[in-house]
Symmetry: D4
Subunit: 249 residues, 8 copies
């Protein structure tokens, strides 16, 4: 439940439009709602400024639908991540208003958070074409949280002049998210060129000694640039979320 919903209920109570008992019943679910297979944290919007995001992997379509049904009553925007295409079809049958972004395997329902103060844009950079799904997950998440987002894909260090073509855009960003697999060198190079925070996202792209993304992860953690922090392998959502939190005015 976000602040808008909360204030609306309280206003109705103050105007006598809603009986106290009904409002109390409604607000008692604020802490969390137990629906057997999940405890939905309706309090999160108030506490953290954005509602709980549903992690789709490992949940059945039925469970996701069950959770969504409860959340859309209380929130203005809901995200579901890591939804395979066939599962998305089943969910969209129940929620045609939810938009499925196949390139990011994400369902977005509702409107982006609307914050008052103007912010700098967030920039999403990916090293290779294969890293795009993770980069798109970051893109959509940051956008849903009320940011202007810009992107440059496939600008890895093997041809560094491609990256240099985006120098001005990088300098203007408030936060940068850099997505890279293989050796994961790109965040170090980007962070050396800007004075803003860089969130590095290792991807599992590559083979052999890329170790499912651990090589990129460790490379990023050992970055010789200091304005870098790292999130989990393939965690585009977390990077977009963290960037949006940093970019809050």
């Amino acid at each position: 439940m976000d602040r808008v919903h909360l204030k609306a209920i309280l206003a109705q109570v103050s105007r006598g439009e809603v009986p106290v008992d009904d409002a109390a019943e409604r607000l008692s679910q604020l802490a969390y709602e137990d629906i057997a297979f999940a405890h939905i944290d309706h309090h999160r919007s108030l506490r953290k400024g954005f509602p709980e995001v549903v992690y789709g992997e490992g949940k059945t379509a039925e469970q996701i639908i069950g959770i969504l049904k409860r959340m859309v009553e209380q929130e203005s925007i809901v995200l579901v991540t890591r939804v395979a295409a066939d599962k998305a079809d089943m969910i969209q049958a129940a929620f045609p208003e939810g938009v499925y972004h196949a390139d990011a395997r994400m369902i977005v329902w509702g409107q982006p958070v609307n914050e008052e103060a103007p912010r700098k844009p967030i920039m999403i950079i990916s090293a290779g074409t294969s890293d795009i799904p993770v980069a798109r997950e970051a893109f959509l998440t940051a956008q849903a949280m009320g940011n202007r987002v810009q992107a440059a894909f496939d600008v890895g260090v093997a041809g560094i002049h491609r990256l240099l073509g985006y120098r001005d855009q990088m300098a203007a960003a408030g936060v940068l998210v850099v997505v890279a697999g293989m050796e994961g060198a790109l965040p170090s190079v980007v962070a050396g060129m800007v004075d803003r925070p860089v969130i590095a996202v290792p991807t599992s792209v590559g083979y052999g000694s890329n170790l499912g993304g651990l090589t990129a992860l460790f490379g990023m953690l050992n970055s010789c640039s200091s304005n870098v922090a790292v999130v989990n392998i393939d965690n585009g959502f977390g990077a977009g979320y963290m960037a949006a939190v940093i970019n809050r005015p």
Copy 2:
């Protein structure tokens, strides 16, 4: 062969209802029975208070059926773990009385052990919805071994107020089983709130640097709470068993 079966045979002998030779033949299989692809440990009920549990993975439906046929003659309850749905169908065709619990991938045949002394309940807690299959395996195992079992699912540390809502139930439990993937922080937090033993079960839920559950496993082993011990990744059965052994009066 459990104590009830054993005493029944000996009583029949003492009353002359069963010839000594027949009884001897029957009891000679007590140690173990060799059925070519398995040595069934019929002695285990007597030695350990609960019959051998059949580990279903890596066994064919035929092998499981063969083992079950021998065991149901000598035991009051038999569990088969890690049974995929299609394999369960084949097995249930031969044993319709065995109940298949799809959410825990387990077959339960017979009646829970009935112990005289009243016990405190065992509480099963899971961090996320995706951890439920493992948690349910623990639930059914502890129940089969004669315990009252309670559960709270999806109460991870990202919204700790959800966990605090179960404080009284946790305080009343004799043993707690805490199931968590990802960073595996929940057992530490739970153990810090109670003075009873906590069995921690890491799950393979997560991705990237969760390393198939090793991250949660190592996190739990390094718990800064001391009333915690750990079982193998995804080993809901082992946790439920260990909890029941601890909870014996």
Copy 3:
């Protein structure tokens, strides 16, 4: 060379106090200075808002002194990290004005950066007493970069009421740095309570399956809270630096 130095030189040129040739010579070293065993990046202050920080490990006292001699001519503040006590003695003999902080193994020379706009404080939290050296490194770095810094040490999850005592202070912070070894659960719990960015620092504190800090590192990367990003094991400096970059107005 920071902006203050740069403007001073240009002002002197414009007033005719410094010949053009002398100024050109001086500015030509702006890019970097080659002193055989190091290429000092004098341009970094301008590019990134803070001068290059000297990583003391693996350098001899002589090398560190040589680098310092060049840097203090061009910068207002210089940090040297990871300096063992005996090496610090040798360096301080040459630079008595550099202050050695034994608890953080750091040398600080000069005055903190002075930025105009008021900022929220940065809060440094450590899980245990043994994590304090890393936490102090973060503290001093963030302070040197012009922040008010607050600290709460030894408030790990085994007794979570200790952490709750700092709830107001945490809510008021602009960025939080959370330092923890062993299972590394603290950042998840802290991040679940605030809506600001959390920089998590795993430490090598612990033994056995803590794997020299990898367990805490992986735990933090798998945090179920999304406003968390991670730096390298024991990298207090990097965490303090990243927090300061985020906290810039």
Copy 4:
């Protein structure tokens, strides 16, 4: 602060022997006490039945003495683990009444907890002579928590008849702690012989592919016996503590 101390203060207040203000001051420290480098959790005795145990590694002698000074005022027994011999000398100079057990690297101050109900003994078994320090740490901890403790050292599986000589003693124990390095096979064998809970402690004893104890750890987690749970490598203290918690009547 344990229940005995707490009741004593309240009794004095009820008899008017202690002014309300003094008692309030005293009890206000109950939650925790902040001594700059540590937050001592005085509440733990009440919450968990045994006071906080001081982990000596990574703390200076001065820090340990500082913590001890505060704790002995409120507790009946205090343990300090992982204290090297030279550090112990410095601590004992300040606390001659604390007994240092060199074989377990532990300081014990005060009297074992005295619980009313009679318990079964706890049995500590070690596979080899080199595992004895860890086994002794478990021994002293379980003893401090009010248990009768028995031990059999150097009875590994290479000569299994040595173990069989302790069959009766094992059968009589309420909980067993089994300490083993190298391949870590002993807990499986012991657990196969008893129906009580077994806490397995891997040790770092061995070389080469023992991987600093990880081999024994993983072996124990994969035990084919189900009444086994595991604690961290070399964590004798944790095993003794968990065994005592399980063995509480």
Copy 5:
């Protein structure tokens, strides 16, 4: 080419039945035969007493058939390991005389080596039912190399009385092959009971921290019994081969 074939050719030459040129041509292929995708080592029978064994994984059915065609002209027995059932069907269509053993995924063509001196039997022991495929591979290999082979399956350490039932058979064996997954404790226990060499085979049976067999492998390498050596995970063929080499009179 084995000694029998070689002597036959030379005898024909000495009797003038085969022209020298023809024999030379035939023998010139002795070193190896290049068939584009393979260099068949026809010399191996002479050098090592048993022909090259074809490793089926990663080879197409066509490649295996091509190799077999060449080998059966020169050898008395040929083994192909790791042949999946569908690939075996295709191969048997071309070589109906080759026998496919589905339980060991092996094709055996020809007659076992016939050595003169009588040998002791080789004994194959497996810990669990799921280990049987690996154990059967060892069984068939040792048999093909001219040994009497005996087997006891599913006699793991969780019920050690099952193993004790085979004490006499173990004592009579010339070499023992012990196959185990999970914690891999069985070889240590077996080796402690006999004075003959034990070849230990770790299997990938298990889950979670069994690490695909590495846990069993490391456990066996750290065995506290000294008459144990280890082969690769799931390498039943190698164990059977090594046992047969040791058992040669």
Copy 6:
């Protein structure tokens, strides 16, 4: 864009056949071309002597076709690696002139680079039949870059006389590429016999403790011969490329 294309455009401009504006437009894409999901590095041919090679894994057939369409306008040869058979079918429908080599999973379009100076041949050696796909990838790459290439497959160290049969060919090679899985011993042995550079390619062939090729990789890095350097696991393309770069006159 390679030198031939570049010179042709400039010649047309100098002869007035192409207006300056058209040429400028054309050359402005020289640095790179942004096609939304990729930044094609047309400058690479000039900078590195060979055009960008398309890594097929993780790209859709549509993306590969889109990239190819742009590249064939500017280059004389284009390679696409790691193309599965079904994806190749879709691509070849659009580009029938591209040749698909199924054994190397590679598409080759155009003519090999034609360099003037005569070079020594490059020799590709593989340890086993299963290593051939990787070896063929190296073969085709080196060939495309203008080299004579020779091959010897399945000549591993278990029958070292097979390798010795190629001694003269090895001695005549300018660079050697040695491909091996399992223990990866072959490059050490080959490098000990020649005085030219050896590029070692570990493959993921094997099972159990081959660790997906890491065992071969580490073995090669620890080679006791010094004229060896290593590329990533299964990276036949990289090895062929590096060999060709070394072999340039």
Copy 7:
């Protein structure tokens, strides 16, 4: 207690020279002797043909002396492995008759086992000079168990002609022990040349990605020769022991 001692006691009893009670007392210690910090397995000589070998690492000089005092009363030969030079001095002060071999860090007391049947020699081969300590441990152990032992040190694969110089000696050996660090390729090559069993010993010699010997270990386990089995890293003792057990007539 070996057979010689046992028969002597029984003979004395049969001749009435020793009272039955005294003999019974003496023989009752046969199973094992409990000396507080160790259970000495006096039965091992009878069961396994060679007495328990004392693993020196992790034991104090006092403990080793205590164990030795008991063993020399019952055995003809005793070995202590992994004894550092300073510890050896303390032990030899108490047992001047024990010979300390500094190059193998071993103490040998008594006479080699004397077996009747003539055996083939055992050959110990090391790849490098740095592997000699491990090779010498194998040498002395095999010798103590009654074998003729031969050695060739520093004959690694980088100059394979050095190894070929020992071809005849290798062919004549009954068992070969091959010791190698770095890439561990030597056992594969040796095993490809002989038809007898090869025991491979990886050593921790090397640096970087040798991973403390794991690289050599994994390489040996993946050997493409089948007459190889492996013991733990640096385990020269185990290899010598296993070779002697295999070489028993």
Copy 8:
């Protein structure tokens, strides 16, 4: 023995200055010389163009002196790597003519190989000051093998303008050796700028998740530039050697 020595002996024989028997004796040691703890490979100079290099770690000063004594009789240059300062003192007492380079821990005796054809220079680049010892080892090795060598130290990617200052020098080099610890990104960037072979050397410089150099190693193996091959961690010698072999005309 290099070609110069060999020809000299043969010339003396042809002129009758040296009796045939003496020359035969001398040449018979050509293959290798057995000095108990080492088999010196005198044939290597002829076979590989440079004599065996002595790996100093794990050898005693006495062993190194013994090997040197034999080698200087037959070679024009001898290198000893990884010699600690105190060991170097002992060796130089016996060989004052050997020069010890403390910064590379190397002893160089004799004159660089003198090859006729002119070569391009080799360039050694290091990312940080702490990588210099490894870079210097590469420098001296390449120099000893007859190359002009150039160096640029401390030019890592955090300030990429420092590297760009060496663009011309890099373009002129025949081979480049790039030494880097931490994330190991420098070789990718360098290789993207040149068309010559790059030998990448990971170093163990860094901490935490640098994993003793494995992070840099894996990063380099996953380089997105294709003209890169990698040697072992800290293996400056191997990189210099490989570069020299590649650079041979």
